[in-house]
Symmetry: C2
Subunit: 143 residues, 2 copies
């Protein structure tokens, strides 16, 4: 079965495996990119005819609970999901719409920075989204 590798990842986490779940997880894991539920659905609907958007939502929730997927609410538009174990900063380019990530350490430093200035507030989850212009688009504009 083509999805073998991906089925295993689900089984290891105690997630009941189905063709839908395996494919959705595969799409996210292989691409590593950010997907709205809609985009996941568009990506798989030809390979799994009849699949419903509601199934995509339900699966994404299961994958989140299993710690395989993280989601993020950007300043505009629908939620985006990606194959990452936990919350991390996002950089959204206003020009091309692309979403990227800062250095992995940046998340930890942000956590410390905010923690130091938040009085007695105990931070459990940190959601960071920066809007701006990515390196690629800045270069095009400059040149």
């Amino acid at each position: 079965m083509v999805e073998g590798r991906y089925l295993e990842a689900l089984q290891e986490r105690g997630v009941r495996t189905t063709p839908q779940r395996a494919l959705i997880w595969r799409v996210l894991a292989e691409s590593g990119d950010h997907f709205t539920a809609q985009r996941v659905w568009e990506t798989i609907k030809d390979r799994l005819p009849g699949i419903e958007l509601s199934t995509v939502y339900r699966t994404l929730e299961v994958l989140q609970e299993a710690g395989l997927v993280a989601d993020s609410r950007l300043p505009e538009g629908p939620r985006v999901f990606e194959a990452r174990p936990k919350m991390h900063p996002h950089l959204v380019c206003e020009v091309c719409g692309g979403i990227s990530h800062p250095e992995p350490e940046a998340g930890r430093r942000l956590f410390e920075t905010l923690g130091a200035g938040s009085g007695g507030f105990e931070i459990r989850e940190l959601h960071v989204v920066a809007k701006g212009v990515c390196a690629g688009c800045a270069e095009e504009a400059g040149g």
Copy 2:
């Protein structure tokens, strides 16, 4: 007129003044708290009978464009609006649901911290939301 002070603030920014706009701005400015559009509407509907939720949304947008109001998308629930000139970090308590802010400098430090770790990405807007437990709720739990 009771809203005099608030009308002026709008006029200075070139915003056409109406009773609706003055009252919505007044509610936000006097309270300093975080409001959903719904909560704004509930707060004013008795003082301005017939006012529509859509008017609240349109007014909040105008106030944002005028730089008087900032909004934020929290991890869950509808957008919240408040009388602040610009984007700033939010601390959302998982116990009481309260929203607070870290020290004012924290925003700047976060900006620097993230900027230093984001390659060529030029940050224009920074959205930060931390979920956790506020000082008050932590104390109650401990005692």
